[in-house]
């Protein structure tokens, strides 16, 4: 056991020595691998955050009924009565167009725009949460609302949250494909680096073999080197992702605000980072193993 540990410690030490002996080449390889890992990891982290937000939206979807601008308060109250009678809604609220305009004017972003428009361009609106999340029930509710002459349009959160979910799924598939392709690139880059090392150390390998080195002894430092390179690149990629998420946090939070939900980016990459670091370490090992088996 002691001997086995000694072999591994020695191999690790030799791998570190090779890493130190070619600092620029090693740093460039690590950087290339880290960049290859950053892209899918970042995509994954953003998608995880977005899907969490959309899931929260899906738990508590909201609907808005917008009336034609000529609709009177009585028209709105008629629709409101109809909805209460159907018993399919909760938190039903009337949003008067005058108070909506006042609220909008209070916002600095819209003040200038609204001052240029005469009169009130906003319609009356009703806001509620549907009791059922069943798509068919929601469609029936929408149909019955749209049959009312005073109703212009009905917007339901669930519809566009479903669209976002589809987009996220597409993004996830893209992310997986990207991770596969870039994973192969990681193995290739590591393999190539190790292959060059093997070529430059062919003499040492030959002499070592002649005086009693086993294939394991020859192979081990390269495997450690590949794993170490992958691990370092994984850590660097995680750092890149953290930094990027930190920068993106404000912008993404603004989108979250529009959705009525907070999106927390900074905490979303934790598990993905661990998985990525492990995967890149393994890919580094794999690339090294293939290189050693074919070239040494």
């Amino acid at each position: 056991m002691k001997r086995w540990i000694a072999f591994h410690l020695q191999a690790m030490e030799r791998a570190m020595r090779h890493l130190r002996s070619t600092p620029l080449g090693s740093a460039l390889s690590v950087l290339v691998i880290a960049m290859a890992v950053t892209l899918p990891l970042l995509l994954f982290a953003i998608l995880v955050s977005l899907s969490g937000t959309v899931e929260r939206l899906g738990d508590n979807p909201h609907a808005n009924v917008f009336f034609v601008t000529s609709a009177s308060t009585a028209d709105v109250q008629a629709v409101e009565r109809m909805l209460r009678l159907r018993g399919e809604t909760r938190e039903l609220a009337f949003i008067d167009k005058d108070s909506a305009l006042k609220k909008l004017k209070a916002s600095p972003s819209y003040r200038d725009l609204l001052s240029a428009i005469e009169g009130n361009p906003l319609p009356h609106a009703l806001s509620f949460r549907p009791m059922s999340q069943d798509p068919q029930a929601l469609a029936a509710l929408r149909e019955s609302l749209l049959r009312q002459p005073a109703v212009e349009t009905v917007v339901m959160d669930s519809e566009w949250s479903q669209r976002i979910v589809r987009l996220i799924r597409a993004g996830q598939i893209t992310g997986v494909l990207l991770a596969l392709v870039l994973g192969m690139a990681v193995a290739f880059v590591t393999g190539n680096t190790i292959r060059l090392q093997i070529l430059s150390r062919r003499e040492e390998i030959e002499v070592s073999r002649l005086i009693g080195a086993t294939q394991g002894f020859i192979r081990r430092p390269f495997l450690y080197f590949g794993s170490l390179q992958g691990f370092t690149a994984g850590l660097l990629a995680a750092a890149f992702v953290r930094l990027t998420l930190f920068w993106l946090d404000q912008e993404i939070n603004a989108i979250g605000g529009l959705l009525g939900n907070a999106i927390e980016l900074s905490g979303s990459a934790g598990v993905a980072e661990l998985v990525a670091i492990t995967a890149v370490t393994f890919l580094g090992w794999l690339g090294a193993w293939v290189a050693v088996e074919t070239a040494a």
Partner: protein, 217 residues
């Protein structure tokens, strides 16, 4: 200790380097295999060192049949032998100390213990003062002595030397043979190949002559 029994070595090209060799090297013996270039001396030594496998017949080293050993087991067998090569096979990017330390690294000998043994081996071949010198700064004779230090650092019971004086002048060659003899005198079995019969001079050892893959004398 080393036994060849009806040993034939045929290379993939069809060339038969050894044709039915029968030879036994006993423990503590010193045997010099002589013959012209291409006589089969190096092949004989490679078989004894487990670097090559026999095509037919048997080769036994310390009772182990090298022909049936796997790659790993043959590597372990080589660890217990001291090997000297005609072209030295030194690593030019490592100093004398680190070259000699290589077999100990392979055997996972702890660093402190390894360092002591390396210095002792360098001392035995008279190169202790060149411990930090790189092989390129050593003369041909010093390089060969460095090889001997590397070969003995593992305290092997068998020393196998292929043309150890191949590139050396007579004076240096005599000193290398004398060095090998001194190891033999303390019980190390030595099997060496040389075409330099004159260089062997009065060296007291059994001599085997090979010609076209056969023992002729």
């Amino acid at each position: 200790m080393i036994e060849f029994q009806e040993t034939v070595k045929r290379y993939p090209t069809g060339f038969e380097a050894l044709k039915g060799i029968n030879l036994t090297v006993d423990k503590g013996e010193m045997v010099a295999v002589t013959g012209r270039s291409g006589a089969g001396k190096s092949t004989l030594l490679k078989l004894a060192a487990g670097i090559e496998r026999p095509s037919l017949g048997h080769v036994r080293v310390n009772g182990q049949e090298t022909g049936v050993l796997g790659d790993g087991a043959r590597a372990v067998l080589r660890r217990n032998l001291g090997l000297l090569f005609q072209d030295h096979k030194l690593l030019f990017d490592r100093n004398a100390h680190d070259n000699v330390a290589l077999p100990l690294q392979i055997a996972a000998v702890p660093r402190n213990e390894a360092s002591k043994r390396v210095r002792a081996a360098l001392d035995k071949v008279g190169l202790l003062d060149r411990e930090r010198a790189y092989p390129v700064t050593l003369s041909g004779g010093e390089q060969q002595r460095l090889c001997i230090a590397r070969a003995i650092v593992n305290r092997p019971a068998i020393l196998i030397a292929d043309e150890p004086t191949g590139h050396l002048d007579q004076e240096y060659a005599a000193s290398i043979f004398a060095l090998l003899r001194s190891f033999n005198q303390v019980g190390v079995t030595v099997l060496l190949a040389t075409h330099d019969e004159a260089g062997l001079g009065a060296l007291a050892c059994r001599r085997i002559q090979l010609e076209h893959g056969r023992i002729v004398a």
